[in-house]
C-alpha cells in the first residue's frame, strides 16, 4: 500500500475496514477508510493506474471497471462495496503475451488518441461482447454511451469493437 488514504495501516483502527477483493483474478485483502472510493483503492492502494479518473460525477466513464462482469464507474463506488466481489481493470484484459481482441481492435482501427478514456471504453466494450458476441453498430454505440471520448469522434471506436467481435467469432 502506498500512502494515499491508507497511510500507515493501524490494525484494528476504528475507522478502517478490512475487505477482500479479487482484482484481475488475484485475491487482495486491504484495510480502507469507509469513504475511500473504489477507483482510489485500485489506483493508489493497489497501484493499478490504468483506471483513470475524469469527472467525479459518474458521467465520463474513464474509471469504468467490471465488478462481477458488469461495467461500473469506480469513482462513485466505495471500496467497501467491492468487498467479496470480482473486479476487472484494464490491467486484467489480455495476458502478458497476448492482447485481448478488444485491445487489439482499438489499435488496429485507431480507436484511441490520447488514451485517457481508452481503458474504461475497452472495459465497457468487453462487457458488451461478453453478453452480445455479434453486436450491431447501434448496439455498440448504445453500450459505449456512458463513456466519453473527446479525441476520436467515436467512429473508429465503434469500428474497433466490431473488429474485436469479428475476430472472436473467427470471421
Amino acid at each position: 500500500m502506498t500512502s494515499f488514504a491508507a497511510r500507515e495501516i493501524t490494525p484494528g483502527a476504528e475507522d478502517e475496514y478490512r475487505i477482500t477483493v479479487t482484482v484481475n483474478g488475484e485475491r487482495r485483502v486491504v484495510e480502507v477508510e469507509p469513504r475511500l472510493l473504489l477507483a482510489h483503492l485500485l489506483r493508489e492502494g493497489l497501484g493499478l493506474t490504468g483506471t483513470h479518473l475524469g469527472c467525479d460525477t459518474t458521467n465520463c466513464g474513464a474509471c469504468t471497471v467490471l465488478v462481477d462482469g458488469t461495467p461500473v464507474k469506480s469513482c462513485t463506488m466505495l471500496a467497501v462495496q467491492a468487498d467479496g466481489r470480482q473486479v476487472t481493470t484494464v490491467e486484467g484484459l489480455g495476458t502478458a503475451g497476448e492482447l485481448d481482441p478488444v485491445q487489439e481492435g482499438f489499435s488496429v482501427e485507431h480507436g484511441l488518441q490520447c488514451g485517457f478514456c481508452t481503458p474504461g471504453m475497452m472495459l465497457s466494450a468487453r462487457a458488451l461482447l461478453d453478453r452480445e458476441p455479434d453486436p450491431s453498430e447501434e448496439d455498440v454505440r448504445w453500450a459505449l454511451s456512458g463513456n466519453l471520448c473527446r479525441c476520436t469522434g467515436y467512429q473508429n471506436i465503434v469500428k474497433a469493437v466490431l473488429w474485436a467481435a469479428r475476430k472472436e467469432a473467427g470471421r
Binding site: 483513470h52 479518473l53 484484459l93 485507431h110 484511441l112 488518441q113 490520447c114 463513456n147 473527446r150 467512429q155
Partner: protein, 794 residues
C-alpha cells in the same frame, strides 16, 4: 539492389499503427496522476462560491488543526513572497490566490496540502472565508455600461472594464465599397463560451529538492518550455534549475497551454515543505477556472453586388474575457487571428474592429482546438455568407463558387494582410457537393417540405492559418514562435528523435518517426521519439493551434537532412569516392554510374562511430530550429444534411461529408482520426456544448451533469474525402489539420438547420442550436439570441 519500399518501412503516407497504443491499450500510459514520488503530499484548492466579492477575512485555524494537514496557503501568504499575482500569456496579470477580491466563481482562494487528498479536501471545508458580495457582471454589455463597477481595480489606471481594443483593415476603402453595394447583408450573433474539456483535468507534481536546489515539475502542459520560462519569471528561480516534464497528456485542446494558479501554489508548497506536492484538479475545478474558448459577439455587414460578388466586409467583435486577460495567443494580435476571416474568398477590402471586456467569469479565451480565434473567424464568415445567400436568393453553393479564390490566384494577399499560398478550392467544393448529392438533395428537400418535413443542407468552406510563426510576426511573451528537433543516430542505425513539441493524442511518436524514415530510409520502427522533458528536449513552443506538423514536423525533416548530409561524407569515405560522386536513394548512398556500389544509412551510422575519415568529428547527430516562412493554409469543405422535427425542434444529422486538403498526409489514418475528432467537436458546439452564467455569475455547466458533451450515441457518422495541394514552403509539403473540422465544421451544422427553417424567415439562432431555440423560432418566426442574461435588478 532495389530501392526501399517507403510504405513498408513506415515512411511518408503509410497508415502506420501507432506506437503509443501499445502502452495505452494496456493501461500503462504515464499520465501525471499516475506518478507517485516518495513522501509525496497532496494539494486541494478552495474556490470562491461568489462571482464578485470583497474578501473580508479568512480563518484557516480549523484547517490547521486537522491531523494530516501540512500547509495552508492564503493570498496574503503568497503576497508575502511576491507570488499573489502572476503574468498571463496576454501581458495581463492573474491572481494566484485572491487577496483583495474574488472576481469569478471558482477562483482560487486558498490551498491546503495534506497527507492525502481526502484530508486536503477536509482542510478546505474547514476554512472560513467571509465575503462582502459585489454586483456581478456577466456579459460585455453590462461591463461596458458607464456605471459598471470596475472589476480590475487592482490595475493601476484601469477606470473601466475595457481590456483591449484592436482594429485591422482599411476603414476608408471599406466605406467606399459599402457605398457602392447593391445589397448590404447584416448579421449579429454570439459564439457561446465553451470549454475544451479534455477528459483528464489539469494537474502537477512540484518536487523541489533542497539538496540540489533543483525544481522538477511534472505537469499537464502542452508547452513545457514556455512554462519553464514563466516559472523562472514568476518564482524567480534560475532557468537551468527548473525542469518541466510533461508526461502523457489525457487530451489538451488548448486547455493545457496556460499557466494556472494550482501549478504556482504547488511549486511554492513544495519549496516550503521540501516534499513533492501533487495537485490534481477535479472536473468542476477544471470547468470553472481554466481556459475556456470563444464567448465572442459579432456585429457584421457584408457589401455585395446583386450577383453575389462580395465587395467588402465589416466586422465588429466583442469578446467576453472573464476576470483576467489570459488568452494564449501571439502577442501582436489582441484577438488572435480573427482577421483570417474571408481568407479563402476574393474580398478586396474589409475592416475588423474588436474590443474585449472584463467580466466576472473565468479567464481564458484560449485557442480551443483552434489557431487563435480562427474558429470564431470561420464561423462568422460562413454564417455571413449563408445569410447573404439567403438575402440575395442565391444558392449557397453558387455564392461560394462566385467568391472562392480560383487556383490561378495564389499567392493571394488578403484584405487583412495574410498571404494565402495554395489550394484547389473549387475542386474541393465540387467533390463535396458531388459526394453529398447536392442537386438531388435540394430536389428531395422541396418534395419533403410539401409533406411537412423540414430538411436542410449546410455548407462551410474555409482556409485557415495554421502553424505559427513565422518569427517576424509571431511571438508569445516575446519568445519567437519557431520549433525544433534533435536527431541522434546510434551506431547500429537506430535513432532517437526529440522535438520541442508535445503530443497529446496526435501521435507524434508515430508520425515523427515516419518523417525520419522518409528522409533517411531508416525504418520508422527503428526511431524512438521523445517529447516533453525540458532537460532533454530542444527548446520549442509546444503543441497547440495545429502547429506541430507545420513547424516541429518541418524541423524533423530539416534535422534529418542535416544528418543525411553528414552521412553522405561518411558514404564517400566508405565507397572511396569523392562526395560529389555519391548519389542518394531512400536508405542508401551509391556511386554515380555504379549503383551496385553503395553504403546503407546503417553502414554510414556504423562508420560514424567506428570508421570515420581523418579529421571528421565522430558521431551522427544534429539539431534544427525551424522558423517557417509562412503559415500553412489547409482548405476544407464540410457539408451537413439535417432533418428538423417541427413539433419538438429536435434536429437529427442525416449525413456529414468532409473534404480536407491538408497537403501531404504523413499518416492518413491519424489525419482522418483528427478530422473525425474535430467534426465531433463541431457537432457538439452546434448542438449542445456551451457554458453560461446566471445573472449572479453562477456558472451553469461546471460539471459533466450540466456541461453536455456528445456520446457515441448522438455523434453522427462521417464521410471523409481528400484533396492534396502540397504546401509550397513546408519541407514535405504538409499543412496543419488537427483543428480544421472543429473550426470549419460548426457553421455547416448550423447552416443546415437554418436552411431547414428557410421558409420561416428566421435568419439566426445562436449556438448551440438547442431544440427549444429551434422550437421557439418555429413558433414566432423570429431570431433567437443565446446571449447571457442581464441582471434582473438593473
Amino acid at each position: 539492389m532495389t530501392a526501399l519500399d517507403e510504405t513498408a518501412i513506415g515512411g511518408l503516407g503509410a497508415s502506420r499503427r501507432r506506437v503509443e497504443d501499445a502502452r495505452f491499450v494496456r493501461g500503462r500510459g504515464h499520465y501525471v496522476d499516475d506518478i507517485h514520488l516518495p513522501g509525496m503530499l497532496h494539494m486541494e484548492i478552495l474556490r470562491s462560491p461568489l462571482a464578485h466579492a470583497r474578501i473580508v477575512s479568512i480563518d484557516t485555524s480549523k484547517a490547521w488543526e486537522i491531523p494530516g494537514v501540512r500547509l495552508v496557503l492564503t493570498g496574503e501568504m503568497m503576497a508575502q513572497r511576491n507570488l499573489a499575482w502572476m503574468p498571463t500569456l496576454s501581458y495581463d496579470t492573474q491572481a494566484v490566490l485572491a487577496t483583495d477580491k474574488v472576481r469569478f466563481q471558482g477562483q482560487e482562494v486558498c490551498v491546503v496540502v495534506a497527507d492525502d487528498p481526502y484530508i486536503a479536501k477536509d482542510g478546505c471545508e474547514a476554512i472560513v472565508v467571509e465575503y462582502e458580495a459585489l454586483p456581478a457582471i456577466v456579459n460585455p454589455e453590462q461591463a461596458a455600461a458607464p456605471d459598471a463597477p470596475v472589476i480590475r481595480d487592482d490595475k493601476e489606471g484601469q477606470t473601466d472594464n475595457t481590456c483591449y481594443r484592436w482594429a485591422v483593415g482599411d476603414a476608408a476603402a471599406t466605406e467606399r465599397a459599402f457605398a457602392q453595394a447593391d445589397v448590404v447583408s447584416s448579421l449579429k450573433l454570439h459564439y457561446p463560451r465553451s470549454h475544451p474539456s479534455p477528459i483528464e483535468c489539469c494537474g502537477s507534481i512540484a518536487d523541489y529538492d533542497a539538496g540540489t536546489g533543483k525544481l522538477t515539475v511534472y505537469m499537464t502542459t502542452q508547452a513545457p518550455h514556455i512554462i519553464r520560462a514563466a516559472v523562472a519569471l514568476v518564482a524567480e528561480l534560475p532557468e537551468h534549475m527548473i525542469r518541466i516534464v510533461s508526461p502523457d497528456i489525457g487530451g489538451g485542446f488548448g486547455n493545457k497551454v496556460p499557466i494556472y494558479p494550482g501549478y504556482v501554489a504547488g511549486i511554492l508548497a513544495s519549496i516550503l515543505l521540501g516534499k513533492p506536492v501533487k495537485w490534481i484538479e477535479d472536473k468542476s475545478g477544471n470547468l470553472s477556472s481554466t481556459g475556456f474558448g470563444r464567448d465572442m459577439y459579432l456585429d457584421a455587414q457584408m457589401a455585395l453586388r446583386s450577383d453575389g460578388k462580395i465587395l467588402a466586409v465589416r466586422m465588429h467583435a466583442v469578446t467576453d474575457q472573464g476576470a483576467f486577460f489570459a488568452d494564449a495567443q501571439p502577442s501582436k494580435f489582441k484577438v488572435g487571428l480573427l482577421h483570417s476571416a474571408f481568407a479563402c474568398y476574393d474580398v478586396p477590402v474589409g475592416l475588423i474592429t474588436a474590443e474585449g471586456q472584463y467580466t466576472n467569469k473565468a479567464p481564458g479565451g484560449v485557442a480551443y482546438r483552434c489557431s487563435f480565434r480562427v474558429t470564431e473567424a470561420m464561423f462568422f464568415q460562413e454564417r455571413m455568407v449563408a445569410a447573404a445567400a439567403a438575402d440575395l436568393g442565391i444558392d449557397a453553393a453558387e455564392i461560394r463558387r462566385r467568391n472562392l479564390l480560383t487556383d490561378d490566384r495564389f499567392p493571394h494577399r488578403t484584405a487583412f494582410g495574410f498571404l494565402v499560398d495554395s489550394g484547389q478550392y473549387h475542386k474541393c467544393l465540387d467533390l463535396g457537393l458531388d459526394a453529398i448529392g447536392y442537386e438531388e438533395f435540394k430536389r428531395d428537400q422541396v418534395a419533403a417540405r410539401e409533406r411537412g418535413r423540414l430538411l436542410g443542407i449546410g455548407i462551410s468552406t474555409m482556409t485557415e492559418p495554421l502553424g505559427a510563426g513565422n518569427s517576424r510576426e509571431y511571438d508569445i511573451l516575446g519568445i519567437k514562435m519557431f520549433d525544433s528537433a534533435e536527431l541522434r543516430v546510434h551506431m547500429t542505425g537506430k535513432a532517437i528523435l526529440r522535438t520541442g513539441a508535445k503530443t497529446q493524442g496526435q501521435g507524434h511518436e508515430t508520425t515523427w518517426a515516419q518523417i525520419v524514415s522518409h528522409e533517411l530510409g531508416i525504418p520508422a520502427d527503428d526511431v524512438i521519439v521523445e517529447e516533453g522533458d525540458t532537460d532533454t528536449a530542444p527548446f520549442g513552443m509546444g503543441t497547440y493551434a495545429s502547429r506541430s506538423t507545420p513547424v516541429a514536423g518541418a524541423a524533423v525533416a530539416m534535422v534529418a537532412r542535416k544528418v543525411r548530409a553528414k552521412a553522405r561524407k561518411l558514404a564517400a569515405h566508405l565507397l572511396e569516392v569523392s562526395e560529389e560522386d555519391v548519389e542518394w536513394e531512400l536508405g542508401r548512398f551509391y556511386v554515380r554510374g555504379a549503383p551496385e556500389r553503395g553504403a546503407t544509412i546503417q553502414e554510414c551510422a556504423a562508420a560514424a562511430y567506428s570508421n570515420m575519415p581523418d579529421g571528421m568529428e565522430p558521431g551522427l547527430e544534429n539539431n534544427a530550429y525551424y522558423d517557417p516562412p509562412n503559415l500553412t493554409w489547409p482548405f476544407a469543405v464540410y457539408i451537413v444534411t439535417v432533418e428538423v422535427d417541427p413539433e419538438t425542434g429536435v434536429w437529427d444529422v442525416l449525413r456529414v461529408v468532409a473534404v480536407d486538403d491538408c497537403g501531404v498526409r504523413i499518416n492518413p489514418m491519424i489525419v482522418e482520426g483528427q478530422i473525425m475528432g474535430g467534426l465531433t467537436e463541431a457537432y457538439a458546439m452546434a448542438n449542445m456544448q456551451f457554458q453560461t452564467y446566471d445573472a449572479d455569475g453562477n456558472q451553469v455547466g461546471s460539471n459533466y451533469m450540466d456541461y453536455l458533451l456528445p456520446t457515441a450515441w448522438e455523434t453522427p457518422g462521417f464521410e471523409l474525402h481528400e484533396v492534396v495541394t502540397p504546401c509550397p514552403h513546408h519541407p514535405i509539403g504538409a499543412k496543419g489539420v488537427g483543428e480544421c473540422a472543429a473550426v470549419g465544421g460548426p457553421a455547416a451544422f448550423v447552416n443546415a438547420v437554418h436552411d431547414a427553417l428557410a421558409s420561416t424567415g428566421v435568419r439566426n439562432i445562436d449556438m448551440p442550436v438547442l431544440p427549444d431555440r429551434v422550437w421557439q423560432a418555429l413558433q414566432d418566426g423570429r431570431d433567437v439570441s443565446g446571449a447571457p442574461p442581464v441582471r434582473s435588478d438593473s
